[in-house]
Amino acid sequence: MKKANINLIVNGKEYKITVEPDERLLDTLRDRLHLTGVKEGCSIGECGACTVILDGKAVNSCMVYSFQIDGSEVLTVEGLETNGKLDPLQEAFIDHQAVQCGFCTPGMLMSAKALLKENPYPERTEIKTAIEGNLCRCTGYQQIVEAIESVVKNKD
């Protein structure tokens, strides 16, 4: 296999990148585009720290090869702010103290964001399903779930 040229839109910006055949989306984002908000916790798709939104769906970026997603659109935690304004989810995480060490936070936010895009009024159990693949060792998840729920409520 050889290197591949791909086009990606990441956080609204277009990139033409040459990637290695075994390069994961996680590597492309962190090492080439310096989007280090994307975290690596397990490298096998089990922890969710590397979650980004790929063409509208939350994915573990450690499980995606970059050459396979030519033409795709990617959103990372760095792209959540719009015009210097935090996303309501980010605000809610702050207000509910849903963060401790913060290593899971970018992935949590992206899973929650993908959920709300698809389903603006999720039930509590749907919220839990959306972040089930995001491990957090610090918070016990309660303030995270509360934060996401508050964004849903504020929509009314």
């Binding site: 690596e40 935690v77 980010q90 702050i94 103290q97 913060g102 936070t105 491990l135 060792r137 918070t139």
Partner: protein, 764 residues
């Protein structure tokens, strides 16, 4: 007391960076021209290393340097000087590294690892402390008399008399497994050689910057002030990023100095799990005697654990176990022994709880078993025996300097969870496969380090011209919220806004050495040091303002960012004052120091005042067990904790939720499995930690009895939250199934069959 900043759920000071992805963790820090490091680990848990041939590996393109033990100036550190930076004669456990490579990129480093040829002679290891302790067992260290790493004992009253006078005596055995801390961020070290005045500067995921500095200096045989550790954001630790970080830091530092290049090491999860120390597994024997009215007369207990080959925390962990081994009960006759033995399993170290979760699981299960024997409600039995003000602990300490709030936390948790009613309901025969149960557990916990350690902390406060304060602390943020708590305490004391406090990255060349950020001591020790530094700063401000504005010093105070004088008239805002004072050549930097009140300990008898204060907690778990499938569903948990004073209630709740989730993991799912020293589960597909779906609703109850020795009355919360859950769940499962499981985790087979198929051990 009315507060402006403490006792309020102010925003975390580091949260904006964290929710925007801007927070730079170790692996996010980059330097130009870096080399990438990888460690080669031993093939066998215990083996003699006959020969290491790196010649072929050195030819791999991009390889800059390969080091082995002979390249390490001083290859043993730690209390016993046993921890090898790289294995020399022998590899003693499966995570021992033999060589480390630095290459231009990680792929080349990996390739080189494959080319290193190591000749081993596999040796017969010891993988069970119960074997290690036998007289005829072979020795892990031939220069030692036996494999005993530590032994603590405790004697109070007359144990034989205590049992003679008892109407009911029961004896039980309990076991707990190895546990992985499972911080989400694997270990990272970046070593920059000859940066500014330092020989080597290290960035990375350090729980304890000062201790890392000591270890690296010792290994490099370099002056302490030539080793600089800088720490800011870290992705969790829970006791885990201690010794392993010292080892990794030292290895990477050697590579950086040899190559004069910046070297970066980022562990993957498998390496992290294989080489980092774990929570101690325990085997415990308990014997308890009580009158038929439920007064406990005597407890005898013995706990056996293992240190692995490296004795780093075992002695202190088992010391906490001996002190807290009989729980928060007033018992006249006690005899306890805790032992740690060397083995060739993975080495054990600190993990949140530190010798308490194990004994609490045993002793709180035991209390329920005794209650059953006495046909008494477990709540009643506890109430009859718990500590109150002026009670005397098993180590002979009179609890006379703080509010002993055990009854309060117990009652609050019991009421909130409706324990009494539910216990009665679930104790009756339940139809169908799904059975409900409720259980509780209580604890007392000594705050901070305890016997044998220097227990002090310092901070520097430096007021700047704009009225902001730089805060330099030797104790570090680990995710628990220390930066926020310290900023709030500083703001409260100085009468300024919390966002005017700037918690500086911990830098061992500047921040006062304050010992490790462990033992739930951050708020207590650092908070008191801040109090002291702030008092000194306020004094300087008063002297300056009284002089400059012709005011009586006694009338001057600071509030809401302004300085006030006689008749509460505002003199000027803090920022203007600071600007003027600094322009007038006044020093507005102060130092604060705190040393704990006197403690004492007699190692021969286990008597003394091992801790200067304690915290108290109670947790209740309600479960539903499917007796057909063995599935345990924890329905809800209630957690009442006396924290002295909640500096930040939202943060305290966060600690409770997080601790409860770890306790739940300990109770029903987590176990690092070892097989003759090999580790079976090395990533999150096999080592399970709770997901959001595993978590029940948690009802936190914050109890506040301000402690005279705490900053604004605050004490500890990190560890108490984790130590109770497994015991409460075990009691709830027993209540539901009428079957007692005496080993953790409480798993499927144990519930259906009463035994663990996996291990072939029958604990019934």
């Amino acid at each position: 007391m009315r507060f402006s900043h403490v006792n309020k759920s102010e925003k975390r000071v580091d949260i904006y960076e964290k929710v925007t992805g801007r927070a730079k963790y170790g692996a996010d820090i980059r330097f130009p021209n870096m080399l990438y490091a990888k460690s080669l680990h031993t093939k066998y848990p215990y083996a003699e290393i006959k020969n290491i041939d790196t010649r072929e590996a050195e030819q791999v393109s991009g390889v800059a340097r390969i080091i082995t033990a002979k390249d390490i100036p001083n290859n043993g550190f730690g209390q016993q000087k046993q921890i090898q930076i790289l294995a020399e004669k022998n590899a003693y456990y499966f995570g021992d590294a033999i060589a480390m490579v630095a290459a231009e990129n990680p792929k080349q480093a990996n390739k080189a690892l494959e080319k290193i040829k190591v000749e081993y002679e596999e040796k017969e290891g010891i993988y069970d402390p119960l074997i290690a302790k036998e007289k005829d067992s072979h020795l892990i260290y031939e220069d030692l008399e036996n494999n005993e790493m530590s032994h603590h004992t405790l004697k109070k009253g007359d144990i034989n008399k205590g049992f003679e006078n008892s109407d009911v005596i029961i004896e039980r055995e309990y076991t707990t497994p190895f546990i992985e801390q499972a911080y989400l961020e694997p270990e990272v070290v970046i070593a920059v050689p000859f940066y500014d005045n330092s020989t080597v500067t290290l960035f990375g995921s350090f729980q304890n910057p000062s201790e890392t500095q000591h270890a690296v200096a010792e290994v490099l045989k370099e002056d302490l002030n030539k080793i600089r550790i800088v720490q800011n954001h870290i992705g969790g630790s829970f006791g885990g990023k201690e010794q392993i970080m010292y080892t990794l830091a030292a290895r990477v530092a050697v590579l950086a100095l040899d190559t004069e290049r910046t070297v970066r090491l980022v562990n993957n999860r498998e390496t992290s799990i294989i080489e980092s120390h774990k929570r101690h597994p325990y085997s415990m024997k308990y014997k308890i005697g009580a009158t038929k009215e439920g007064k406990i007369n005597a407890i005898k207990y013995k706990a056996i654990t293992e240190s692995g080959p490296y004795g780093c925390h075992t002695s202190s962990v088992t010391l906490r176990s001996i002190i807290q081994g009989t729980g928060p009960y007033e018992i006249e006759n006690v005899k306890g022994d805790t032992y740690g033995y060397y083995t060739n399993n993975i080495y054990t170290g600190a993990m949140r709880g530190y010798g308490s979760p194990q004994v609490i699981f045993a002793q709180e299960s035991l209390m329920d078993e005794l209650a059953e024997e006495l046909e008494m409600d477990p709540f009643e039995l506890r109430k009859k025996n718990i500590f109150h003000n002026n009670s005397v602990t098993a180590s002979g300490q009179k609890l006379d300097n703080h509010e002993v709030s055990l009854e309060e936390v117990l009652t609050k948790a019991v009421e909130k969870s409706n324990f009494i009613e539910k216990y009665e309901e679930y104790s009756a025969v339940q139809e169908g496969d799904k059975k409900k149960g409720i259980g509780l557990s209580i604890s007392f916990r000594g705050c901070s380090l305890g016997p044998g350690d220097i227990d002090t902390a310092g901070v520097i406060l430096s007021l700047k011209k704009d009225g902001s304060v730089n805060l330099y602390s030797g104790l570090a943020e680990n995710g628990q919220g220390l930066k926020t708590i310290y900023s709030q305490i500083t703001a409260e004391k100085l009468g300024i806004d919390t966002n005017k406090v700037n918690f500086m990255p911990v830098d061992t060349l500047i921040s006062p050495d304050s010992g490790p950020t462990v033992a739930s001591r951050g708020t207590l020790l650092g908070g008191n040091a801040i109090n002291n530094a702030a008092d000194n700063l306020i004094e300087k401000i008063k002297v300056y303002v009284s002089d400059k504005y012709d005011q009586d010093k006694e009338n001057i105070y600071i509030k809401d960012g302004s300085i006030y004088g006689k008749k509460d008239i505002e003199i000027l805002p803090v920022n203007e004052m600071a600007n003027k004072a600094i322009n007038d050549g006044i020093n507005l930097s102060t130092y604060g120091w705190y040393e704990i009140p006197e403690i004492s300990w007699d190692e021969k008898t286990g008597q003394g005042r091992p801790f200067f204060t304690y915290v108290y907690g109670c947790q209740v778990a309600e479960v539903e067990v499917d007796t057909a499938t063995g599935e345990i569903d924890v329905l809800n948990m209630t957690a009442a904790h006396d924290v002295g004073r909640a500096i930040n209630p939202a943060n305290v709740k966060g600690q409770i939720y997080g601790g409860v989730s770890m306790g739940l993991g300990y109770g029903i799912m987590e176990e690092l499995e070892t097989n003759k020293g090999y580790i079976e589960n090395t990533n999150f597909d096999e080592y399970m930690i709770p997901t959001v779906k595993d978590m029940p609703d948690i009802e936190p109850i914050i109890v506040e009895n301000p402690d005279p020795n705490g900053p604004f009355g605050a004490k500890s919360i990190g560890e108490p939250t984790l130590e109770l859950g497994a015991a409460a769940i075990a009691n709830a499962v027993a209540n539901a199934t009428k079957k007692r499981i005496r080993s953790l985790p409480l798993n499927l087979e144990k519930i259906i069959l009463g035994k663990d198929l996996h291990k072939g051990v029958d604990h019934k």
